[in-house]
Symmetry: C2
């Protein structure tokens, strides 16, 4: 019995970009149902006593990350341009992805936001940029944003982030399959194998 794969992602996270770009195809190819789980890394880092991205707290590691992500994008054939601001605020985009996780367009939205952040250096923290992205993928921006920022919509992201902390997530991307946690884009294949063997 194949289990679903939960994809936990944060729009500010560089390595989530790699997974977001390929996860819908990878799950389809493996016959594994995909569950989009948008969350915020800030409170997760905060729960561990961190007040910034580890890539900013540890600049030597951060410098490497930018080299590594450029190489990984090149290997995957993904465009990449180092964002002029990092990490970018992702609250509205994350609320939209949480509140609309079951919509057929959520994958297109997620990929478009990552592409804006990491290939086009657009300011995804700005509501206007998110509205423009919704327009670009053919959605009614005002309606989508209204649902995501209504009290029920906001609660979905807040609960997801609380669940992330409770379940021992500490970074993004993370994959959860049948209760088992896999961390990092490098573990997507292992998580898919687990979903098929579970």
């Amino acid at each position: 019995m194949v289990k679903p794969l939960e994809f936990w992602f944060e729009f500010a996270s560089t390595y989530s970009y790699l997974s977001a770009a390929r996860i819908e195809d990878a799950c389809a190819e493996a016959g594994v149902p995909l569950v989009w789980r948008s969350f915020l890394l800030g409170p997760v880092f905060g729960a561990q006593g961190m007040t910034d991205s580890p890539f900013n707290m540890f600049p030597v590691k951060g410098a490497y990350m930018w080299t590594d992500i450029a190489r990984c994008c090149s290997d995957l054939g993904l465009p990449f341009a180092k964002p002029s601001s990092f990490p970018r605020g992702s609250l509205l985009a994350a609320r939209i992805a949480a509140a609309h996780a079951d919509e057929p367009w959520v994958g297109a939205f997620v990929r478009a936001v990552y592409h804006a952040n990491f290939a086009e250096d657009r300011a995804i923290a700005d509501d206007a940029v998110i509205a423009a992205i919704l327009d670009e993928i053919g959605q009614d921006a005002a309606e989508v944003i209204a649902t995501a920022t209504a009290p029920d919509g906001k609660a979905m992201l807040r609960h997801a982030t609380e669940e992330a902390v409770e379940r021992g997530l500490f970074g993004a991307p993370s994959f959860v399959v049948d209760g088992a946690l896999f961390w990092g884009n490098d573990r997507l294949e292992q998580a898919l194998a687990h979903a098929r063997a579970a």
Copy 2:
């Protein structure tokens, strides 16, 4: 023109165990010359303001690491038993690997020390355990240790560790190919590809 691959490793490092177990075969298969670069992570972490393993400083991440390393060992067919002490002191073993890096038996020694630490839960910080391992691989323990702990031998590890900091290493395992840094067992294949393309 194929470039050599420098394998930077620390005997206390769990993920270095995964690379150490397979790197000699992987390099031989790829036709890439292998350079063993033993170093100490403690001073490297210290240079970033850390006083312990990040896996101990961030326990949520540490808990995941032990699950992940067990799964990765299983995938690679490697025996694994969580060590009762972590991270174990590795000074003598690291000095031996640094001072004898060009000996034909260095690979066997490196693998035996990792196996002792991560499959047999042996106290590799104890000189007697290291001497026993040298005996097990057919080396003259007294002679090997004498060379590694003479002033010239000690200097080799100290200089290697200084070089690691200067070159922007921040963890282990790391691979350096033609000046390019690759971090983590998950990047061994990328580093090998770089060595063949450089």
